[in-house]
């Protein structure tokens, strides 16, 4: 009883605080100075049609590196945590038959999902999307594959190879920016290209390809780790 009173009190206090700050959260009628700077100079400085991408990859590229590192850390903690202590023999995945419809559909749809994922991260500087979203789409294709064939083993060597290579390439591109251009992850190490085309915005498409591969590999690693552990358990 007392617990319920406390829960209600916490919720009410939270609600009051949030709704009282409603005025602060009001949308303005014009941009603040930082955003104005990004919107005005972004197209010339960075050359990316998608301003969000310009902010993520160039203006705040270091944040993105940290973000990718956190995702890598999560994936490796989960791998370590789930691998330790489960020494029992993995049972043979005997016919927990998934339906014919799911298997056939997965065979048809999975390559298309991978293709869409790759399209999304290559066009991250032009359209809504980018490395993280594309990587998540690629990993969702892998989830479909695992749903259709629960017994299937995903090669961890391949996943960690893709992940390491793309991670190292991302950092090397950043350091190249330090040497050839004005700073870490500066995208002007490649030519600016024509605004609004695929080969534009300097190094952003290249960086986003590596980010997309890395995110896709990490999420696939997490999913396949979780899947293998549950299979051993049941």
């Amino acid at each position: 009883m007392l617990k319920k009173v406390f829960v209600v009190a916490v919720l009410v206090v939270f609600a009051i605080l949030l709704f009282r700050s409603y005025g602060l959260m009001d949308a303005g009628t014009r941009l603040n100075p930082v955003a104005t700077r990004y919107a005005q100079d972004g197209p010339e400085e960075v050359g990316a049609a998608n301003l969000v991408t310009a902010v993520i990859v160039t203006y705040r590229g270091l944040d993105t590196l940290g973000e990718v590192t956190i995702l890598f850390l999560t994936a490796s903690i989960i791998g370590f945590f789930l691998a330790s202590g489960s020494h029992q023999e993995p049972r043979s995945a005997q016919g927990t038959g998934t339906s014919e419809i799911l298997q056939t559909a997965a065979r048809v749809i999975t390559p298309i999902i991978f293709l869409i994922g790759i399209y999304v991260f290559i066009n991250g500087h032009l359209t809504p999307g980018g490395g993280f979203q594309g990587g998540a789409i690629v990993a969702s294709g892998l989830v479909l594959m695992l749903l259709a064939n629960p017994g299937r083993k995903v090669s961890h060597t391949l996943i960690s190879a893709v992940e390491s290579i793309s991670g190292i390439s991302f950092v090397i591109l950043g350091i190249l920016g330090l040497i050839l251009a004005s700073g870490f992850l500066d995208n002007s190490i490649l030519g600016p290209g024509r605004f609004g085309t695929l080969f534009s915005a300097g190094a952003i498409p290249v960086i986003y390809i590596f980010v997309g591969l890395k995110v896709g590999a990490e999420l696939s690693g997490i999913v396949s780790n979780l899947q293998q552990t549950t299979k051993e358990d049941t």
């Binding site: 014009r30 955003a35 049609a49 705040r60 999560t74 358990d233």
Partner: protein, 123 residues
Amino acid sequence: MEQIDLSHIAITAGILLLLTGLWAILTQKNIIKMIIGFSLFDTGIHIIMVGVGYVRGKTAPILDEAVNLQQAAREVVDPLPQAMVLTAIVIGLGITALMLAYALRLYQKKKTLDVKNFNDLKW
């Protein structure tokens, strides 16, 4: 009748989602449901942040034919909160995956997901 503003809808929905998530974290007994509560809390905050970055009557910060390049600053919404939310979504996904892995481990140890059965640290 006065028109309801888009950002007000977004912020109200975000606050309600956040409160729902908080309620789930505080009251649910099943660990999976608590994790869902954390996800709802996350999503609420993301919606509020994007709502704050909205500028009335402006378009998405993608400079295509719909936006005049010379006057871009007067035609787009704030790109910064959107970039922040992208970061936050990725971190939230990592946290959710970690929580699910812990839940899996706990279930393997005790064959239950009810928090009442996890009283090892209780005195």
